[in-house]
């Protein structure tokens, strides 16, 4: 049972990590807590569902839906955030603007699609599980873990080995200096919006596939989990988000398996509070010194 719980926790945690990556990236670069991120998660899953229902194969629907939501994210973030960024509005302003937009988008989705749970057609992915050394693993769990590895590797390649990646990191470290060095902030913001929107959508599709249940509000509870992950991992810390996501997924499975399933949802928030008390900069964060 320990092995099975570990495996389930690892798969769920990998998807949490994927979700948190985009969330933490947008904070790291733009200093914005973007609450519309949860909507990208839901809409990615809904779009992939619609595509597969119309005969598109899953392997095509995955990148198609992710990129489409990435492009939508570029537009939405541009409308919501550019103005605030130019005005150098405080973080609270962007939080409130994205909160309002999120509530609006959820109620539109809700009126349009209803709150009913939707499911992928059974032909999309075989639901039977493979048995390996007494452990049951499903195709969607394998898909999650493989894709997370691929995505994380390409993301770190992009950030560390390309000029755009370098510009992004410069922007994250010091926006003013980066601007002075000729980094085009608008273009970079669009890059970040696209990457984070696609990551959110991809996580939504993968978890929607894994539990085979999709509905417009699914992004809401995921956002709460996303907060726990990025605070535990350190705000804006990509490596921290990855490790914290997997950690929370595994701990959830352990708590449900060995303590009580009623406490499962609580563990992420216990960690969130503990982190803020003991180590506010996150698992790997350096203590920030504010200079006047």
């Amino acid at each position: 049972m320990l092995g099975q719980q570990l495996l389930n926790g690892l798969a769920a945690g990998a998807a949490y990590a994927l979700f948190a990556l985009g969330f933490t990236l947008i904070f790291g670069v733009m200093r914005v807590i973007n609450l519309t991120y949860g909507v990208y998660y839901s809409s990615g899953a809904l779009l992939a569902l619609w595509l597969t229902q119309n005969g598109v194969s899953l392997l095509l629907a995955l990148p198609l839906a992710s990129c489409a939501i990435g492009l939508i994210a570029v537009g939405v973030d541009f409308i919501l955030l550019t103005r605030l960024q130019r005005a150098r509005a405080p973080e609270l302003a962007s939080l409130m603007v994205t909160l309002g937009a999120t509530l609006l988008l959820y109620s539109v989705a809700n009126t349009w699609l209803g709150t009913n749970v939707r499911r992928f057609p059974p032909s999309v992915i075989p639901s039977a599980s493979f048995e390996i050394f007494g452990l049951y693993i499903t195709l969607s769990q394998i898909l999650i873990m493989v894709l997370v590895v691929v995505v994380v590797m390409s993301l770190s390649l992009f950030l560390n080995a390309t000029r755009a990646g370098l510009a992004l990191r410069a922007l994250a470290q010091n926006p003013d200096a980066a601007r002075l060095m000729g980094v085009r902030v608008d273009v970079m913001t669009a890059y970040v919006s696209f990457i984070s929107g696609s990551l959110g959508a991809l996580a939504g599709i993968l978890l929607g596939l894994n539990y085979n249940a999709i509905q417009p509000y699914m992004g809401e509870s995921m956002m709460l989990k996303g907060f726990a992950v990025i605070i535990l991992g350190g705000l804006g810390d990509v490596r921290g988000a990855l490790i914290a996501g997997v950690l929370i997924g595994v701990l959830e499975a352990m708590v449900a398996g060995y303590m009580s399933s009623s406490l499962k949802e609580a563990i992420g928030f216990v960690l969130l509070v503990l982190t803020l008390w003991i180590r506010p900069s996150g698992l790997f964060g350096q203590i920030q010194i504010k200079r006047a």
Binding site: M1, Q4, Q5, N8, G9, A12, N116, V117, R119, P122, S127, A128, S129, E131, Y136, T138, L207, N210, Y211, N212, A213, Y217, M218, S221, E252, A253, V255, A256, G257, S260, S261, S262, K264, E265
Partner: protein, 383 residues
């Protein structure tokens, strides 16, 4: 000329009236009908319940009147009032039926919360009122004139569990329930009680949230404990999700799921497909019950309404026969005498044998059918 026109008109009217008189159905004798009231949800979003109930009443009413009506030959009639699922409208309907139509008895209302509003009024005016679809706790505690003929969930679950114990040898079970919903939580309380009374061992109790989609941790734990069955109190979506996850995680189909009323919905086998096969639920009535009374009910309902009857129609159908019997036994149209006759009435109908407890709830659970999900639908459980 004007005179001729007018007298022609008068003559035509009288002729029409006369012909209407002579064409009145043979069974509605010249005696004055006994009219009882009914308050049901006939419009609005919940009207499918009210319409099924009205269909059930009307079908039974035809049979009652063909067989000579009540009180030795008086036809029975029902005055329907629409509550639209609204408490205030239900109260107005009750006042109208009691005050101006002077009905001796009221059938309905459809919803439990309507009964909580209307029951006290009927009780105060000493008019018996009979809910055919009101399953909430505390309905009959409103007062001595309030009856119900629908089996509450608390009566159905123990029958399902006992059937699993006696027919499948289920001795130790794992329980899963939604802990953030009053309906699934109260069904869990009933399950816990019934399991203890039946001497069945609960080896694990797991919870989940109504909106959860991930049940793998709970099911992994349950699988490791190897129970004989998994008892689940969930609404449709979570229930179907649990069944799908159970199959996906390789829990063998020999470990059956035993569900509460939340799983007694055609949507569950529809969504979960073959992952739902073998799931047991209890139901006060099932369309496929093979006794003659039920076969006749189903076929005449289909003939009259061109649709399949549901549980609400069946409950209404039986209730009307019971009421007709009680009115005849009362000997006259008198609410108090009808009330007394109801408390003693027994009836063998499509739901099985029926009588009231001292608290005016259904006394008999022998009519409960345990049904099993199979290939996307339900069938009667035959081990």
């Amino acid at each position: 000329m004007a005179f001729f026109v007018r007298s022609f008109y008068v003559a035509a009217c009288s002729a029409l009236a006369l012909s209407a008189w002579s064409h009145s159905p043979a069974y509605a004798q010249t005696q004055e009908p006994v009219t009882i009231g009914a308050i049901e949800v006939l419009s609005g979003p919940n009207n499918k319940y009210g319409i099924a109930i009205r269909n059930g009443f009307d079908l039974a009413l035809e049979d009652v009147n063909k067989a000579g009506g009540v009180l030795g030959g008086r036809p029975l009639a029902i005055a329907y009032e629409d509550s639209a699922g609204n408490k205030d409208q239900a109260i107005n309907a009750a006042r109208q039926l009691i005050g101006s139509q002077k009905v001796p008895l009221i059938l309905g209302p459809t919803l439990s919360n309507e009964m909580f509003a209307v029951g006290p009024i009927a009780n105060e005016r000493k008019i018996p009122i009979i809910g055919t679809s009101t399953t909430a706790n505390g309905i009959t505690a409103i007062g001595p004139y309030v009856f119900r003929t629908s089996l509450p969930e608390a009566a159905v679950i123990p029958v399902t569990l006992q059937t699993a114990r006696d027919r499948l040898g289920v001795k130790k079970v794992a329980v899963m329930y939604g802990n953030d919903d009053a309906f699934t939580k109260s069904a869990y309380d009933v399950m816990k009680d019934a399991l203890a009374k039946l001497g069945m061992e609960t080896i694990a109790t797991e919870t989940f949230g109504g909106k959860d989609t991930d049940f793998s941790a709970q099911l992994t734990k349950i699988a490791a404990l190897k129970p004989d069955a998994i008892v689940v109190s969930a609404l449709v979506e979570a229930g179907a999700g649990i069944l799908l996850a159970k199959k996906q995680m390789g829990i063998p189909s020999s470990i059956r799921v035993i569900g509460g009323n939340g799983l007694n919905s055609p949507q569950v086998p529809n969504v979960a497909g073959d992952a739902a096969d073998g799931t047991l639920v209890g139901s006060p009535w099932f369309i496929g019950k093979a006794d003659d009374a039920n076969k006749k009910f189903v076929s005449s309902y289909r003939a009259k309404y061109n649709a399949d009857p549901d549980q609400f129609a069946a409950q209404a159908y039986d209730t009307l026969f019971l009421v007709a019997k009680a009115i005849t036994a009362a000997g006259e149209v008198n609410s108090d005498k009808i009330r007394d006759a109801l408390t003693k009435a027994t009836y063998q109908g499509v739901m099985g044998s029926f009588s009231f407890t001292a608290d005016r709830d259904p006394a008999d659970t022998s009519g409960v059918v345990v049904i099993e999900m199979k290939s996307g639908g339900f069938q009667i459980f035959k081990p």
